[in-house]
């Protein structure tokens, strides 16, 4: 075994883990502050899950609906999140999103236009006004390409196809990170004064998901192992419209922009069933409500042939559909033999996003570990119990920038940390362990069973019994994972990569299940069949999960009181 001193090693002021929208925006800001910045990503640059974002970026620009302003955006976000949001984050987000959009445009992004040449905005669920700046249905690609090129030309170092498996510490503070190159399997150590975690979500723990292979909760698990706190992990968003057929594409996202552009939801009898669940907002209700409604229709026998609902945009002119929803048109035509300009799509809920994540300070993204910051989906707070569509892309740029800024400022104030060889040696042993076993299961089998467990027991509707059952199953899966075996060499070996990702998935799945069991109410995306009501008392507290010794512990944290001015905005009925 190689020793730490023989590793390839790099040193930065600020190390960013993750190169989606939040990571890249953080890197750009840290560079602008003069920091030496490194960006590590599991995939090639530009392939992060942000490219999958379709519908748009929510910002109260008031280009289309002149009455829009940050106050309305703040109110929509808080109401959509069932008031569990960190109100200060919701305020900063609503106030700063328009500037972040203008900045993207000034860096070369080309959004669709209004008739008078401004950035066009479209309607989305839970947003009072037309608010989503977009590029057809490929807004995420536009955003990531813009940020990627900006960052590359400003001069950050990018470490592509490199997976971080452990955060290194110097006493209480973060000191660096340890990982491996996917291509060679060789190890690499990064020393950094500040680290920003921007690793995205956790969807790969569920069977039906819109998420890519990367979304395995790495950043949350890394932070948890480094003693940082996780917040509100029970809140997992099931997007109402994923593809349900054919089997290979089950879960693949069907953008909310279909409904934003006028798409209608119907059951097998042709009823617009949203009338029963949210007659005021209908198809443009919040995601938690629409997902539960589709699920209920299917469960009660009114679903489509492949177990979903019908989503129809074919009443709009074919040319309009192809221009505004080009990738949906191609996706259905090529993968499901459906022409969406002529007939309906079949859609059903798919695990899409986690509102919970690393607990951070609103203004800086600082976690409970000195020097460790988080932004984007990996961080928690902005979205409360349910995220509005379009608020994720704006989250990435607003809080990516803030975390990058704070990380650079932190790096200016502190001295270089010291790395501890014992920690890197420990990290090496952990990742290599599955190679050393002569027998044991494949990580693919354990991952398959984890996905079944989370899908069946920690899904849209939850009960005490199911959640307890899930915890028992997770214990068994952890025991199996401790004995799993990996075949082949260290060179680009996906089985080995999965063995590491699986550990992260098990950690975040357990956190999610613990928090879901503890919250004895229904709120936003967390629906308990045994506690169907939303209770004011529960609205006054968040769930925090932290590692104590080897045990996952959970405590309740009271929510800080909201200032009078924000309370007034919330109370206004618009």
């Amino acid at each position: 075994m190689t020793t730490a001193s023989q590793h390839e090693s790099h040193e930065h002021d600020v190390l960013i883990i993750g190169a989606g929208g939040a990571g890249l925006r953080a890197a750009i800001e840290a560079l602008a502050q003069g920091a030496r910045v490194g960006v590590v990503c599991k995939s090639l640059l530009g392939k992060a899950h942000t490219v999958m974002a379709e519908g748009g970026l929510a910002a109260a620009m008031a280009n289309v609906d002149k009455a829009d302003d940050w106050r309305t955006h703040f109110r929509d976000t808080m109401r959509g999140g069932k008031l569990l949001n960190n109100w200060h984050m919701a305020q900063l987000h609503a106030q700063e999103a328009p500037d972040r959009v203008r900045e993207l445009e000034q860096w070369g992004a080309l959004f669709d236009r209004t008739a008078d040449g401004e950035i066009l905005q479209r309607a989305f669920g839970g947003h009072t006004f037309k608010r989503l700046c977009h590029v057809g249905d490929r807004t995420g690609l536009e955003m990531i390409r813009t940020l990627q090129d900006r960052g590359v030309h400003m001069g950050f170092d990018v470490y592509m196809e490199c997976t971080i498996t452990k955060l290194l510490k110097d006493g209480d503070r973060v000191a660096g990170a340890f990982g491996y190159w996917r291509e060679t399997g060789n190890f690499v150590t990064f020393k950094a004064k500040s680290i920003v975690i921007a690793t995205g979500g956790i969807g790969k723990s569920w069977k039906i998901t819109s998420n890519s292979w990367e979304c395995t909760g790495d950043g949350m698990a890394l932070a948890y192992e480094a003693s940082a706190e996780l917040l509100d992990m029970e809140f997992v968003q099931f997007h109402p419209t994923g593809m349900v057929w054919p089997p290979g594409v089950q879960g693949l996202l069907v953008t909310e922009a279909v409904r934003g552009e006028g798409g209608l939801l119907r059951n097998k009898s042709g009823e617009r069933f949203m009338e029963k669940y949210d007659p005021k907002r209908m198809e443009l209700s919040t995601r938690d409500v629409v997902a539960r409604s589709i699920y209920t229709e299917v469960k009660e026998g009114r679903g489509s042939p492949h177990g979903g609902a019908f989503l129809d945009i074919s009443h709009k002119p074919a040319e309009y559909v192809k221009r505004k929803l080009p990738s949906m048109y191609h996706q259905f035509k090529e993968l499901a033999d459906v022409d969406i300009t002529k007939g309906p799509m079949e859609v059903g809920p798919t695990c899409h996003y986690v509102m919970g994540g690393i607990r951070v300070e609103a203004e800086t993204g600082q976690s409970s570990v000195p020097g460790l910051f988080a932004a984007g989906e990996a961080a928690a707070g902005l979205h409360g119990a349910n995220r509005l569509g379009g608020n994720s892309l704006s989250d990435l740029v607003v809080f990516g920038r803030r975390a990058g800024l704070a990380a650079a400022e932190h790096a200016k104030k502190v001295t270089a940390p010291a790395l501890d060889t014992a920690q890197t040696e420990q990290a090496e042993r952990e990742v290599l362990a599955p190679f050393g076993r002569s027998s044991g299961e494949s990580p693919y089998q354990i991952h398959h069973d984890l996905q079944e467990t989370m899908q069946n027991l920690v899904g849209i509707f939850r009960t005490d019994e199911d959640l307890r059952h899930a915890l028992t199953e997770l214990e068994k899966l952890k025991a199996r994972a401790a004995k799993m075996r990996v075949e082949g060499s260290r060179v680009f070996n996906p089985g080995w990569h999965l063995s590491r990702d699986l550990q992260c998935m098990l950690t975040v799945s357990e956190a999610c299940t613990h928090a879901a069991l503890a919250r004895k109410e229904s709120r936003g995306a967390h629906s308990r069949l045994d506690y169907p009501k939303t209770e004011d008392a529960w609205g006054a507290k968040n769930h925090v999960i932290v590692k104590k010794g080897d045990a996952m512990t959970l405590f309740e944290a009271p929510r800080p009181a909201m200032p009078q001015e924000l309370q007034q905005i919330l109370a206004e009925d618009k």
């Binding site: 995939s43 090639l44 392939k47 992060a48 899950h49 490219v51 999958m52 203008r102 000034q106 860096w107 070369g108 080309l110 236009r113 008078d116 040449g117 401004e118 590029v135 057809g136 490929r138 995420g140 690609l141 390409r145 090129d149 900006r150 590359v152 030309h153 990018v158 592509m160 291509e183 890519s212 292979w213 057929w245 054919p246 089997p247 290979g248 594409v249 693949l252 990738s327 191609h330 996706q331 090529e334 993968l335 499901a336 033999d337 494949s442 990580p443 693919y444 089998q445 398959h448 990996v486 075949e487 082949g488 060499s489 060179v491 680009f492 070996n493 996906p494 089985g495 080995w496 999965l498």
Partner: protein, 244 residues
């Protein structure tokens, strides 16, 4: 359940060979599903890149039955299943392992292209009609299939002198941005070697985003290079002024 033989290249820089796997076929299955099935059940160390599985990220490029394509977009039922379905890595890039190739050269080319720079004092308003053509170029998902089939790269390996179709598309997107103020013509001629392209349109044929690479990006850029460097009157003016 019906089974099909999938013949996947297995190997690394030292060499390799195709290996046959029997894969059960399900309705609507794509080639990437078959590769994932092999990974999960038969060869956990089979190297392949993928992310979105929806033709939005451009990670799963390979040569299926000899044709460069995205595996996530290639339906098994579009291929003759009475014979093995062959899956090989992209040929124009150095092999890492199995279906994963080293595409890092592309990222180096990208760095040569001067980024977007607005003209001083521009008003941030644009007409949709003016950006329609630029949005076509910005659809590119960087699957590098166009680079893979371009004979200047694939057969002649001129990576040190030629940028390839992907980066002409990128440059076109910048040059035709209504508010951009940078001139990239010299860079196109001298650093990206646009003159090597003899417009055989192989790139356009394989583009999964259906970008008209040759007609809409490369030919207009070639015209700009000709106008600036080979126009007789301009050349004369430059000569009189003593410019290079």
């Amino acid at each position: 359940m019906a089974e099909v033989t999938v013949r996947v290249f297995r190997g690394d820089r030292e060499g390799g060979k195709p290996v046959d796997y029997k894969v059960p076929i399900t309705e609507g299955m794509v080639v990437l599903d078959a590769v994932h099935s092999i990974q999960a059940n038969q060869a956990p160390d089979l190297a392949v890149r993928w992310n979105c599985k929806a033709a939005k990220c451009g990670s799963c490029s390979a040569e299926v039955n000899g044709r460069p394509r995205l595996m996530c977009k290639t339906r098994m039922d579009s291929l003759p299943l009475d014979q093995p379905v062959t899956v090989y890595p992209m040929k124009a890039f150095p092999l890492i392992k199995d279906l994963a190739t080293d595409v890092s050269w592309n990222y180096k080319v990208n760095q040569k292209i001067p980024p977007f720079q607005p003209r001083p004092g521009v008003e941030w308003k644009m007409d949709q009609r003016d950006i329609d053509r630029v949005q076509e170029f910005r659809k590119c998902i960087e699957c590098f299939l166009c680079q893979n089939v371009c004979h200047v790269l694939r057969d002649h390996d001129k990576k040190d002198q030629f940028g390839g179709p992907r980066f002409f598309v990128r440059t076109a997107g910048l040059e035709m941005h209504p508010l951009d103020g940078v001139n990239r013509t010299r860079m196109l001629k001298e650093q990206l070697g646009i003159g090597f392209c003899n417009i055989t349109k192989c790139c356009t044929e394989v583009c999964p985003e259906e970008i008209h690479i040759t007609d809409n990006a490369i030919i207009p850029l070639k015209e700009r290079v000709v106008d600036e460097f080979y126009d007789p009157i301009t050349m004369l003016v430059h000569k009189i002024r003593g410019a290079k």
